[in-house]
Structures are given as C-alpha cells and as structure tokens.
C-alpha cells in the first residue's frame, strides 16, 4: 500500500509552557522520543486530537533544534481549547511538514532582516529568528519589532529577555497597545511604532500578525520607501488536507497550504484580496 499523507503519526506532548493568558507552547516528539520530521522555518504541521478535529499550526521552533518541535498555540476554538486542557504525556496526531517556508537558504541569505510581529503572529517568525541566530554567519543583523495587547500577552517573554535582547547581533523593540503598571517600554500600536523607529530601508522584512496590523504596517513600510518585493508574510486560512486538494485555502490560482503560507507582497498583490 502506498504512503498516505492524510494518515497522521503519533506525537507525544512532553512539555507545556504557559506563555500568556491564552497562549501555550507545546513541545512535541514522536513515540521514539525524536523529532517526528524535519522542517524549514515557516512550514506548518497538521495537529489533531481524534474526535475533536485537526488544524494547521506553524512550527514555532527552529529546525536547528534537533531534539523536539514546539508549537505556540492560541486558545480560540474547539481544537485549541482541547489542546489547552492537555497535560504532559498526552498523545496527539501530527503530519507534515507542509507549505513552502521562508526562503532562508536563498533570498534571505546574507540579508539584514527586520521581523515585525503582532501577538501570536510571533509564532511562525520565531522559527526563522532562532534559525538565523543559530546560523548568524549566513545572515546580517536582526531587528525585531514585536507588540501585543499587553505585557502579559508577549509570547515567551523570557526568551525575548534572556536570549534575544542579550544577543549583540539582535536589536529588539517591544510595544504594548495600552499603558500598564510595571511596563516602562513603548506603548502604542505596531504600525505607528514601526514608523517611529524608522527601520533601515535595506532590510528584508518578515511580518506576521492580525490581518489589520499587517495591512497598516505594510502601508507604513511602503510610505517609508520599502518595496513590496522585500516584504514577506505568512498566511493562515482554513485548511483540511494541507496538500492543495481540499480546496479551502484557495486564493486565485494559489493554495496557501502548498504555494504558501509564505508569500512576498508583490506576489500577493497579483491575487484576489480574499485573505
């Protein structure tokens, strides 16, 4: 019998980290204790709880992590609520990797990078950030602009504080939407924060966050002089098969699951605005 990607493998949840009031990060390995598969930063996996459902999630960990994969998941529906109720040791199903991923070995190589993330939008970018940090000889400097609703909603704040901010090759700028006791950093929305920071126009930009944040941030970037061809994003649409057959994530002649989820904005501008 030939192989079938729709039949998943078993994953074991070996660690659960509470990142924010509605985001947890799950560490997953196979039954043999090893990674279930290798991936490229920006690729995704279908996770499921049999009887509850299956959904596409970006792989948060970097491929340079040889021990396990991590998924930062926001609680917002039936499946994610179930995932949030799990205890360590729970088995789930996993299949993948799916999608194109970010062009870390081609277009991004040697480039100075600017990451702009909003809320849970950091999840897919974190894979690239840590990949680039681990292979810093291949990339230029890294600038990260990250914002969330409140200080409590910054996903894996400890890693940002202890690893990114102490990395001399990385500049981190954080913002939260509204003032909060104990927060002496920047307050304000990401699009205006990006404009205030005046990032270097030579950087290649990777952006992910809520659609409205992406829209206004992109408008701001273009006003500053960034070209659409130097800005990448990663998309999320409803998916069932993850292999370009079930038809759900179809936008124009593209399928987000296989042609994406990573797109350059000059490619997106030739497609219907149905995302």
């Amino acid at each position: 019998m030939r192989s079938e990607t729709l039949i998943p493998k078993i994953g074991v949840v070996t660690d659960i980290r509470v990142d924010t009031p509605d985001v947890k990060t799950f560490r997953v390995v196979g039954l043999d204790g090893k990674k279930v598969f290798e991936h490229i930063p920006g690729q995704c996996a279908m996770l499921s709880v049999p009887g509850v459902g299956e959904g596409m999630f970006s792989i948060t960990s970097s491929p340079t992590n040889e021990a396990f994969m991590e998924f930062s998941i926001k609680k917002c529906g039936c499946l994610t609520s179930w995932l949030h109720m799990m205890d360590v040791g729970q088995q789930i199903t996993i299949r993948g990797p799916y999608g194109n991923g970010f062009p870390v070995e081609s277009a991004l190589k040697g480039k100075d990078l600017l990451f702009i993330a909003g809320g849970i939008g950091l999840a897919p970018l974190r894979s690239v950030i840590n990949y680039v940090r681990d292979k810093k000889e291949n990339y230029g400097s890294v600038h990260i602009i990250y914002g969330s609703r409140s200080a409590d909603d910054l996903v894996d704040y400890q890693e940002i504080l202890n690893e990114w901010q102490t990395d001399e090759n990385v500049k981190v700028d954080l913002t939260i939407d509204r003032p909060q006791e104990g927060w002496d950093g920047h307050v304000g929305f990401i699009p205006s924060f990006v404009e205030e920071l005046k990032p270097d126009l030579s950087r290649t930009v990777l952006i992910c966050g809520p659609p409205i944040m992406i829209k206004f941030t992109l408008d701001g970037l273009k006003k500053m002089g960034f070209q659409e061809s130097q800005v990448y994003t990663t998309m999320e649409l409803r998916m069932k098969c993850a292999i370009g057959k079930c038809g759900r994530c179809n936008i124009g002649n593209k399928y987000v699951c296989k042609d994406g989820p990573v797109f350059r904005f000059d490619e997106l501008s030739t497609l219907p605005n149905e995302y």
């Binding site: 192989s3 039949i7 079930c246 038809g247 124009g252």
Partner: protein, 336 residues
C-alpha cells in the same frame, strides 16, 4: 475495433460482470443512476445519469483513518483496503473528461492513495451519446461527444455495439471477452456522423470560452457582474454535488463510541463555513462564494493546467439549480 450484436448485449454484460463488478446507468424514479449490473438489469437509454460518475472514484463519504483512544494514548489505524477491479459502462464523453480534471488534482504529488487505488482498479467504458440535449455544451470545452475517451470507447448502432480500446487496461479487458467479434475500424463512422448533426444543432454548442482563462484573473475577479449574478443564489450547494469536476472536500471526525473514524465528505465552496477561520471568514458574502466557484472553473484551474477549463459542459447544474442560475449564464454575462 470489436463488435457484438445488440441481441447479445445481456451476454456481453454477463461476460464483463463474470470477473468484476459492472456498473451501468439504470432508469430510476427520478432519472438514470449508475447501478450494479445483475442478470436482468436493463441499461437506461437516458442522455446521461442524474449524478456524475465521480462517485466511483471520489465517493461522497469515505473513511480515511481510524483511531483508538485510550487515556492519553492514541493508536492510528490504516483502514485502507485494496480496491477490487470494477467496470463502469456507459460513461458519456463529458464525464470521461472530468476524470482527467480530477486526476490533475488527486494524482498530483502527494498522490491521494484512496482515489488512486480506485482509478487503478476501475475500467471506464464510455458510450457515445445518442441524444445529447439542450443543456449539453461539452463542445465548448473541446470535448467531442462522438469520440468519447475512457479506457474503452463504445458506439451503439441500430444493431451492434462497437468497442475500441484506448488504454492498456481497456485492451486487456476486451481481449478477455471472447464473446466479441472483430469489426472494421471505421464501423462507427456513420454513427459518429449522425451524432455530429445533432451536436451541430444544440443551442449551447457554440458557447465561447474566449473571455476566460488564467490570464484574465483580476479583471474577471473584479467584474461588477458578480453582484447581480449571485443575488438569488440560495447557497444550497446542489451545483457542486452534481458537478463531475467539483472536488473540494471536508475532513471530520466521528466518535463511534468504539473509536474515532476520520472521514472525508464532499464539501462546497458555496457554503459559508467553508472558509470560516478562528480569526473570521475570508469569504463573508454569498457573492464572494458564488464568484469563487465560477472563477475556479473558468480562471484559476486553467491558470494552473495549461488553459484546460474545470468544466466539461455536462449541463447537470443547468438542470438542477433551484433558481436556474448556472455557468452558462455566468459565462454569457461576463463576456458581454
């Protein structure tokens, strides 16, 4: 070319059915439907079946996998079984073409093994149309109803059934049927000519596809005609279910009480929850969903498949839409 006298048609069907299941169109209460042939089964003379033949390869519902859940542990069960050989007889040229469209999706890497297994084990015997009707427009998509595809093409004259193998599978089937006799290679010519005169007179025969294709993507997407065209769409999804080329599906889990079955079933881009995500819906209005279905067949699919359209002109949607909206009306409105 092979032949057999129509007086021996039942013997022919019995010979085919001797070693595998044989399905053919049979008249039912509402029209012709594919049925398993058994002795005494009478083949329908209808111009086509109500439902397309896609069910044989892409069934309405099928189980993909099963799971046993025991505490925190899960067992995955591969429930796939090797398909048994079967023959579908009487498929029309339009429906035969639809399999090529389904193939381009399901047999593309990574291959859908459920579909592939059925395609490998199924033999398609097409039958040239006798009386194409006013809702037929296969010609618009370059399909020749007088020369239907499939593994074996058949023509029925007043006295004989003529059979021409097109593939290795078809050759093997015909070679196994000793009941067949040799026929002249041009034995079907007069039958083809008769059909051609009917095809030439069909009202939708000259529908133009010139205004469509992958190169017109944004212009057609942004057309101001979609609002009016979609206004009365009830979002019932009937057009997608009767369509031989509609191939979108849903995957869901069902807890049987003794384990979980993961199944897939036909789905429709006409439904509001088709694109419903946690963050909202990317196609909020029926206009957007309606537009998606026609854009996919007339623009997106050809953009990815060398200009081949995702419609075969079978006319089922013309006959079954409760508000009489259909792809022909859409094409005529958009080109005008």
């Amino acid at each position: 070319m092979k032949k057999i006298s129509l007086t021996k048609l039942d013997e022919f069907f019995a010979a085919v059915a001797a070693s595998q299941n044989l399905y053919l169109p049979v008249d039912g209460a509402k029209g012709a439907e594919y049925s398993l042939w058994t002795e005494g089964t009478v083949m329908s003379k209808a111009y086509n079946t109500l439902r397309s033949a896609k069910d044989f390869f892409f069934p309405q519902v099928e189980t993909l996998a099963a799971f046993k859940v025991n505490g925190k542990n899960i067992e995955v069960e591969d429930v796939r079984k090797e398909t048994e050989d079967f023959v579908v007889f009487g498929v029309r040229a339009c429906d035969a073409k639809s399999f090529e469209i389904l193939d381009s999706v399901y047999l593309a890497d990574p291959v859908d093994s459920y579909y592939a297994s059925r395609r490998e084990h199924g033999v398609i015997m097409t039958l040239s149309c006798k009386k194409p009707t006013e809702t037929c427009f296969c010609k618009a998509f370059g399909i020749d109803a007088a020369n239907p595809g499939g593994d074996v093409s058949c023509w029925m004259t007043d006295s004989e059934l003529l059979l021409q193998a097109n593939t290795e599978k078809g050759e093997a089937l015909l070679a196994s049927l000793s009941i067949l006799e040799e026929a002249d290679d041009n034995a079907a010519d007069s039958e083809k000519e008769k059909l051609q005169t009917i095809l030439d007179k069909l009202p939708l025969g000259n529908l133009s596809t010139e205004s469509f294709g992958g190169d017109k993507l944004m212009a057609l997407f942004n057309s101001d005609k979609w609002e009016a065209l979609s206004e009365s769409c009830l979002a019932c999804g009937t057009c997608t279910f009767v369509c031989p080329t509609c191939q979108c599906y849903d995957i869901r889990d069902y807890d049987t009480g003794h384990g979980v079955q993961r199944f897939r079933c036909w789905d429709s881009c006409m439904y509001s929850d088709f694109t419903l995500c946690a963050h909202g819906n990317t196609r909020n209005t029926q206009m957007q969903r309606f537009r998606q279905r026609f854009m996919h067949k007339l623009v997106y699919y050809p953009a990815n498949n060398n200009g081949v359209f995702g419609c075969v002109g079978c006319g089922r949607c013309l006959r079954s839409c409760p508000i009489s909206m259909n792809i022909v009306k859409v094409m005529k409105a958009l080109e005008g």
